[in-house]
Amino acid sequence: MHVPDGFIDAPLSVVGGVIATVGVGVCLRGARRELDEKTAPLAGLVAAFVFALQMLNFPVALGTSGHLLGGTLAAVLVGPYTGALCVTVVLTVQALFFADGGTTALGINITTMAIVTTVVGYGIVVLLRALLPARPASVVPAAFVGALISVPASALAFVGFYALGGTTGLSLGGVLVAMVGVHVLVGIGEAVITALTVGSVVTVRPDLVYATRSYEQPLEIRHTEQAA
């Protein structure tokens, strides 16, 4: 779904750029509350993982292929603001360095793949957690559903941009059906991988999952008679 240079016309690319800049600005402010000395590297790792996930292109149907987006995973692990920044960083590096996604389409790509996925995915996670039992493990099914829905939502946002500024003259209905159809399938893969990763992290390092942070435990003090 990485939009290449020249796919969306220049004015709408500028609009995408403005939306992305505002969104990233909001995230930068919000992330200050999420990030500290220890979570900064976690954000980097999440970005690296999202990067690896997005490399996994899998064929869906008739020559089309989709790849995982990773937005929900990022949001669940490091929080929605930082999560969106992680995906933004991935997209920037891909555009500049890996020629994946156009440099001028970066604003659009950030909007659809970093902002929409984290907002939708994390929103659903928050919603479901309120309904599920209050245990750290509840985040796993919540992340599954969030990831499942975030991907077609992102595809929908893309179709929106296309409707307003597409340069290729394809019929809107066709694009809509193709994009959303493909990405419903991609969403299933995304959901499975997100749930597996979150599940394994929650069991070993619950403190690393933003969505389940905040559990304290009492410390025991022992007194000893010192020898020597």
Partner: protein
């Protein structure tokens, strides 16, 4: 004079719930060299990681040169306390040995020839000057450990904390490291399982076991105290006798004139 290091009632549990420290008390005077002994899993590394605020958030306090280790002083404290990690792979991350050694002093503001001199000097100290342009991850384990020591020496810390510095070093490097440490007029805290090395370098030792300090005294006395030693899985190695050792090389240990 304020003590170099004061640890008081330090308790800590890892995020997975495993408690490693249960109230550690330790005071180290300026210029003292203290060995931290104890079995595997006693909490030695966990204690070390508290000394410059890498771990924190449990109970108790740590103070360095009178300054409490809190978020607000952490930067100043990290200038003063240099830690050599147990695993050199945790310490080395830059693309070349030279850049890695320069990393710390550069963060302290050094630049240009002054920085280059500092780096070169540290690399010469550990015998790795000719490896300056190689990537650290392409070195042998012992070479990586030597570079890890150099990265910290280059920062000229006031307090040097070493977590098993002699492991994986060849015997000559081990002795050379001892010579370097003996020549530094600073406070040294050294975690080690190498009891002869502790005796050679540190007049004083503490034993940490199961998250608490269970013994504190002169290294020589501790090593001769069989009951305490066996209670904490400490044994003298094959062929080593502290009594005869001290009669041969007393100079190393100021407390035995």
């Amino acid at each position: 004079m304020t003590a170099s290091l004061v640890v008081h009632g330090l308790a800590f549990a890892y995020p997975d719930g495993h408690q490693a420290l249960y109230g550690v008390d330790l005071t180290v005077a300026r210029g003292e060299r203290v060995a931290v002994l104890g079995p595997n899993g006693a909490g030695k590394t966990t204690l070390v990681l508290h000394l410059n605020g890498i771990l924190g958030g449990g109970r108790g306090t740590v103070a360095v040169a009178g300054l409490p280790v809190t978020k607000e002083h952490v930067r100043e404290i990290r200038r003063r306390v240099g830690i050599v990690f147990q695993d050199p792979d945790d310490q080395l991350f830059m693309p070349t040995v030279r850049e890695d050694v320069a990393f710390g002093p550069a963060n302290l503001g050094l630049r240009g020839p002054e920085l280059a001199d500092r780096v070169h000097e540290a690399l010469v100290q550990v015998g790795m000057a000719e490896y300056a342009d190689r990537p650290p991850h392409h070195l042998s384990y012992g070479q990586r450990r030597r570079v890890a020591v150099a990265t910290v020496l280059a920062m000229r810390p006031e307090i040097l904390v070493l977590d098993e510095p002699s492991s994986n070093l060849d015997p000559a490097s081990r002795r050379e490291l001892a010579d370097i440490l003996l020549g530094l007029p600073i406070t040294i805290l050294m975690v080690t399982h190498d009891l002869p090395y502790a005796l050679q370098l540190c007049p004083r030792s503490v034993i940490l076991d199961d998250g608490v300090i269970v013994a504190d005294g002169s290294t020589y006395d501790l090593l001769c105290d069989d009951a305490t030693m066996t209670a904490h899985r400490l044994e003298l190695p094959f062929g080593f006798d502290p009594r005869s050792a001290m009669s041969v090389a007393p100079a190393a240990s100021p407390s035995f004139p």
